[in-house]
């Protein structure tokens, strides 16, 4: 694997230290070099006017086109993301693919979040979670594992930002050319 790139693609400036925090967590979780992209390009045509949300599928498509070849790319944004069947998503990834995206928009709920560090923690966990999908992992039932399902901020808060042993083994097996 040619590593992972983390790219801020939000409308506003990211909070200070946030992207670095994500970088550290992702690096630790997958044990691969993680690079930060600081390209000012931003996805276009992703806004659904009726829903006033951004289609995460379209963001993924944009990341695939614009991302560096050979590496997995994680877009980090502050816009509210959705997939057509759901009211919102924290993020989305191509299962076993290249691109993943996470948003801080819904991680701030329920408003107001008293501790801003909490949002950064949640973001790091979801970054690992979506990149895990891009590595081919499905949801995991091991308590605390970052690949646990994230249907609500409660789900996010109840897990850690790292992968459990079996998810790590699954990634190693996939990297070795098979699936466990």
């Amino acid at each position: 694997m040619d590593g992972i790139c983390v790219w801020w693609i939000g409308e506003n400036e990211p909070e200070s230290g946030m992207i670095d925090h994500v970088q550290i967590h992702v690096e630790r979780a997958f044990d691969v070099p993680v690079r930060i992209i600081s390209d000012p390009a931003r996805p276009e045509g992703t806004l659904d006017a009726r829903r006033r949300q951004h289609a995460s599928g379209r963001v993924l498509k944009w990341l695939l086109e614009k991302g560096p070849p050979g590496a997995k790319v994680l877009g980090v944004t502050d816009v509210d993301l959705f997939i057509p069947i759901l009211t919102f998503v924290f993020g989305e990834a191509q299962l076993g693919g290249t691109a993943a995206v996470v948003s801080t928009a819904r991680l701030k709920e329920p408003l107001p979040v008293s501790d801003p560090r909490l949002v950064v923690e949640r973001l790091a966990k979801e970054a690992v979670h979506e990149l895990g999908h891009a590595m081919g992992l499905v949801h995991c039932a091991t308590p605390d594992c970052a690949m646990g399902r994230s249907a609500s901020v409660r789900d996010v808060d109840s897990k850690r930002g790292s992968l459990c042993g079996s998810c790590k083994a699954e990634i190693r097996a996939r990297a070795a050319g098979g699936s466990s």
Partner: protein, 468 residues
Amino acid sequence: MSNENIKVLVIDDEEIVRESLGGWLEKDGYTITLMPDGMSALEYLKTNAADILLVDLKMPGIDGLQVLEEAKRLQPAAIVVIMTAYATVDTAVSAMKLGAYDYLVKPFDPEELSLMLEKIVSQQALRHENDVLRKALKRDWGFHDLISKSPAMQKVFELSRVAAPSASTILILGESGTGKEVLARAIHAESPRSGGPFVAVNCAALTESLLESELFGHEKGSFTGAVARRKGKFEAADGGTLLLDEVGDVSPKLQLELLRVLEERKFHRVGGNEPIQVDVRIVAATNRELMKLVADGRFREDLYYRLNVIPITLPPLRDRREDIPLLVERFVEGLAVELQKPIEGVTPEAMAALMAHAWPGNVRELRNVLERGAVVAKTKLIDVADLGLPAASDPSAPAVQPGTLEDVERHYIEDVLAQTGGNVTQAARILAIDRVTLYKKIRKYGLRRGAGEEDAAAEGGVEIRNAR
């Protein structure tokens, strides 16, 4: 979490919805199949199993409710969730009535979808576990078509298993409706004679001369009406098993003839001279107290001992009430198929009433009560009112409506038969008429005589039947 064994079918005409839902569920590890319309989904379901169906309500061609209805018919165990962009109470009610598990309004809240699927999966897992357990229990508790977990019945099964392979005569004792014929069939099936015929004769249903001819056959011209030679049941059962049901009602003359056959394994057709030898295993059954009949001089002692080689007594249902839930489940399953009605069980109140009833007609009566309940029930569960059980003590039971004398007679016979659980001998005794007369009246009025022949496979068996 291993969801890969759970097959989810997403049916939606909007590709973007299909793909996004499929993609989301795929990350939960489910095995996903996407279908663009109802027709292709139903085609798919004809040959492929699905555990969960997520079906869009509004689709061109076959809509979601039609898919739901047909899918439930094709795969009753599948869980169907209806999805719609337009929630109306009417469609929600229709969907639930048709057996939908739930109703989701698009777009869904991720948590709502997750929790619902989690619930379905755990319920499915529980159901699967229950099925496996139930099957295991039935295997342990069953003896062919009989089922029981009561210690008394387990002893009956044990004895039957041991006795079946031998050629010895078996005497089955028990009240009517306890399943004597079903046990006789089970013993036959368990015996080395299972490839041979099983023939049952109801000794109480015929007059002496008719029964004699029925058992032994007759030669042409042996009596008025004997226009051709006819083989009897002993010959018909050659190589197999002959059930002499209600043997306690056999006349003294025929008792002697039966004794001879049992001793010599030979007999003569009525009007015949040639002795006929047969290889028949005799199983006799009666609801009478044979010892008492012997003491009263109404049953030959020597015949009694010939028959009473291996006695097996079936306990009445009131002495094995713990079996009622098991039997209810068995009968409800069968009735749902027979009546093609989605009956799933009985309400707790109905079960309480079933447990409390005295069951004079035993298992057969239970089956008949459940059949009535299944026919009358308006929901998937049979309720206490559907059963039509008499109140514990109901002196104000409705009197017969004014009508013709025949109406009154028909109703009265019906009531007495219901009380005796369809036992004609007992009913005849209560009515103080002979059995043949009662049989004629039953035929005349077209009355139900309890379980029919087709119930022979069900526990409770058939005790009332015309010897053929």
